[in-house]
Amino acid sequence: MSELEEAFRALKRLTPSRLRLEPGAGAAPLSAVLDFQASHASARDAITMPVDWAGVTRAIAPAEAIAVHSRADSREVYIRRPDLGRRLREADLARLPKGPFDLAIVVADGLSAHAVNDNGGALVAALLAAFADLNVAPVVLVEQGRVGIGDEVGAALGADLVLVLVGERPGLSVTNSLGAYLTRSPKVGTPDSARNCVSNIHGKGGLSLADATHKINWLVRYARKLGVTGVGLKDLSDTVPLLD
């Protein structure tokens, strides 16, 4: 290999970008075209395919799970009407037990079924173990749900804190990333500035399940201590130790 080829190989390692670094190159090579198409197809599938909710329920058993649906009846409506993905079907509202609870955990498909299928159940199980000392509501599984659905669910359950785990918008390189949003005193219309977010939870160089559990646990403990989430609660989980 020439010195230049070696230099180009070294440069490609510096970024996840699809670098070509080929002087005098013409049309993109077929291998790059097909690789791109495979990545895009995976992202599209993550968005359009349904979550295996039975699998998620099995993964968190024996903890109780309640399956509900947002007011967005289909994937197309979900994408066109962000407002409906934030509200629960009225009939489902009545199926939620009235607390009070310290914490409610909500799992929503969001924009990635892959994210929920791959890591949703395992993350909930790890969190339930971490919160064994708290009064946690039955886990609520929401079909066609956005982050904001946690506000209505949390309020109906009478939860002091609601944690929403949701599939993030897939990129070309990562299609199964989960996001976690923590909100205190949830109610319909809560602004995003009142939430803390832990994003990029996935196994492809993202936040591992163990690290995500630690971060979320830290945020929950300090949210309870300080009585606030959002801009008033800075994530210092990397430096400040967990409360007892």
Binding site: L14, T15, S17, L19, R20, F36, I79, R80
Partner: protein, 458 residues
Amino acid sequence: MSYSHVAGGETHRFQSLAQVMAAATPLRSGDELAGLAASSEANRVAARYVLADLPLTTFLTEALIPYEADEVTRLILDTHDVAAFAPFRSMTVGDLRNWLLSEAADGPALARAAPALTPEMVAAVSKLMRNQDLIEVASRIEVVTRFRNTVGLKGHLSTRLQPNHPSDDLRGIAAAILDGLLQGTGDAVIGINPASDSIANCTDLLKALDGFRQEFDVPTQSCVLTHVTNSIQIIEAGGPVDLVFQSIAGTQAANDGFGVSLSVLKEAHEAALSLNRGTLGQNVMYFETGQGAPLSAEAHHGVDQQTLEVRAYAVARAFDPLLLNTVVGFIGPEYLYNGKQVIRAGLEDHFCAKLLGLPMGVDVCYTNHVDADQDDMDTLMCLLGASGVNFVICVPGSDDVMLSYQSLAFEDARWMQRRFGTRPAPEFDAWLQKVGLSDGTGALSDMNHFVKRLGKVA
């Protein structure tokens, strides 16, 4: 005032000018989401009949967003050039469409029309134009701007090289810049969207870009796309700011959502001018816009998203930008649902901005939840090439690994140059030939040396 049109025995009534404008717009998800879209396909065409007969002067007497409530409306009406408008004073919107498509509307005539027309007039006429009409008229308009090179000349197509990195790693960014230069891109701007908006990080990125530009004597400009107030602070601290960037929108309330106002933009414009860094010209601003931004900020005043988008160009026009581009497929499927809607919007945005005299480029792009793919982007880039777009945005392999969306690839820009017989900005083109990067021959005299120096600068 209400408007109506009778068609097929049915009377279509519209309660306001805003309703006529919204109903006349080609179908898009954002207007449906806002509850502003036509009630039926027949209703849409009825609204177009109303628009066709509407005198242009209506837009000077009937503000879609009240003068008292919105500084963008005030800007538009207070800066309207009455003398330039004289030849258009007796025209309807339909007459304007016919004039635009006539031989009388050549380049110089269209340039004279720019200050005569308000964004609302331009939005209205675009709603009566098919895609080929938007391409035809746009292709006759030449809008030229200058900083360290000349962007927008006929026969030239410029590119923004967008070397984003998920953690702003300087060496990773340098590698992406090299990839872009090897394919002859980067003359409109080498512009980074920073992963972290901190002043310190943005200053580091700017210094690296500026060091690279000076080391290789590249006749282009750099930009770190951070908030305008950050750029003002960086300028005050002596940072090497070529272009000041800001996302803008067509209502005061939506701009408020972006954390900007006309007075803040004026302050930034003056700060950038004070540095006097341009060698060929002093177009120092870079703006981005996109249909749907005001609705997402709940600041749309019942006006359709395309009309609001064109009002944003009045904001841009007040500050003589070097570059303006729509991020057409980026705002999301709740505003532009699929490839068809993105393609139409891209052509509208380009035409409307050009007619208002702005140096318009397009980020030919989509997110993964938009129902679109590379074939749709190929179509849009072809149509924009035929329209004479000032510049497009390019990333390695179409994949922006920081913002997680797809834009054009460096190869796409090269394809457009070949297909449409265009060249990069003349000064940049000459530099490419000087260093041996022209025409993709890769005859860079000493690539090893180039790569090593690039690594050193980063």
